[in-house]
């Protein structure tokens, strides 16, 4: 199989405390991989290591054949932080146009990205006046600019209404069908069912690298939450 992201023996410490210990994983190219686990289990730290903004104590992370965070990846890997990282004192359009200029994406992609997150008609609204869910969609739209090969999304669907959440998961699968590799984190186990592959984390370690179907089969549980519990207790 073709891997877009390869993590080998990754060690990360924060404040002298180990957060990730010898974590290894492979992420299939062109798939939507879910990174699931409870809050505080190290999902964000793993994600930050993949996009190259986390200080790493040991091990290696390779993205598209290059060390994570290397300059050549900065146009090909897009990252959406957990809290929306957009400028509250700019309009939606101004935010997107700025990030498009930074990555050198054509201006037309701004409209496409906004349409993809269902904000096409709100471009002139100030981000500071938007709801939390709308802000996180603006943040997501910024990551869609320039058609990145790898999208790393930290809890992009938190607090969104179910219709929108379904639409976004459909969008993630469309992007993967077009060849992008997606890593989507969530602490809501229900979302695991929507992924092609699953990485389950707990207390800084990988509990399972599997698919939703395999997880159900292995644990005999249909409900993802119950399956995760069964797995942890085994």
């Amino acid at each position: 199989m073709n891997y877009a992201i390869e993590i080998d023996g990754l060690d990360v410490e924060r404040g002298g405390r180990p957060v990730l210990q010898g974590l290894s994983a492979r992420l299939a190219a062109g798939k939507v991989t879910g990174l699931l686990g409870p809050s505080g289990c190290g999902k964000t730290t793993l994600i930050r290591s993949i996009v190259g903004v986390q200080k790493v104590a040991g091990g290696s992370v390779t993205v598209l054949g290059r060390p994570a965070g290397s300059a050549g990846l900065r146009r090909r890997v897009a990252y959406v932080t957990q809290s929306p990282s957009v400028y509250a004192d700019l309009t939606i359009d101004e935010n997107l146009r700025y990030f498009a200029r930074v990555i050198g994406a054509p201006t037309e992609t701004v409209a496409e990205a906004l349409a993809a997150v269902d904000l096409a008609r709100s471009g002139d609204r100030l981000v500071g006046t938007l709801s939390g869910g709308q802000r996180s969609r603006v943040s997501l739209a910024c990551a869609l600019l320039g058609k990145p090969d790898v999208l790393v999304l930290d809890e992009p669907t938190v607090g969104l209404d179910p219709v929108l959440r379904r639409d976004l998961w459909a969008l993630f699968h469309r992007l993967a069908d077009d060849g992008a590799t997606l890593l989507v984190s969530s602490h809501v186990m229900d979302e695991a069912a929507r992924c092609d592959r699953l990485l389950l984390m707990r207390e800084g370690a990988l509990v399972a690298d599997t698919t939703p179907g395999d997880l159900r089969e292995r644990t005999g549980e249909q409900d993802m939450e119950a399956a995760f519990l069964r797995l942890v207790e085994q």
Binding site: G52, K55, R74
Partner: protein
Amino acid sequence: MSPRITAATAARVLQQIRHDRRTIALLLIVPSALLFLLSEMLGSVQFDRLGAPMLGMFPFITMFLVTSIAMLRERTTGTLERLMTMPLAKLDVLGGYGIAFALLAAVQALVTSGFVFLVLALDTPGSPALIVGLAVLDAVLGSALGLLASAFASSEFQAVQFMPAFVLPQILLCGLFVPRDEMAGWLDAIASVLPLTFAFDALDAVAVQGDDLAAVSGEIAVLAAFTAAAIGLGALTLRRRTD
């Protein structure tokens, strides 16, 4: 570093400020109001001596504060982390901020000096254009120091306190309150390595003694060097990888 991205960043910072009308009003009006107060307090003879140096102090102080808070917000809202995953150099960020606030400072200095020369009728043997130029340079220095200071602040509370911690001592020691040759030796020694001292010296020389550009080129070079050093150190404190 790319001129395209630096320019885009500067334009974005100015766009942010454009949406904040009250900040613009404060930036443009407060220095003039304070100088009016000063002129009323001092009378015209004293004001002719202190008005021009103060013209350099206000943009320095406001730009230091505004820039350090703006940069801190960039760090704390996660936008800096996002930018650090993008194809942009650290100097694009700092340069963008520097250019944006320099332009803002130029407008501030023009408005303030227009008021001081035309309405308050400041009388100086020096060139008003050179005084305005020095005021802009001081503001750019304030911005650069603000960018650097913001690296050491993890909250707005800390950032605003860098003003009394780093800026006030420079104002006290620069020669504005007590001429430097009347200070204790050790105070004068400290003053002689602080950037604002050079800013005061240059403004004082032009406004009071009527010196020209060539006569203050040494001070200008030192101010430019401090600005470059602050931006350079700022780039070093900006990390792509953090804990």
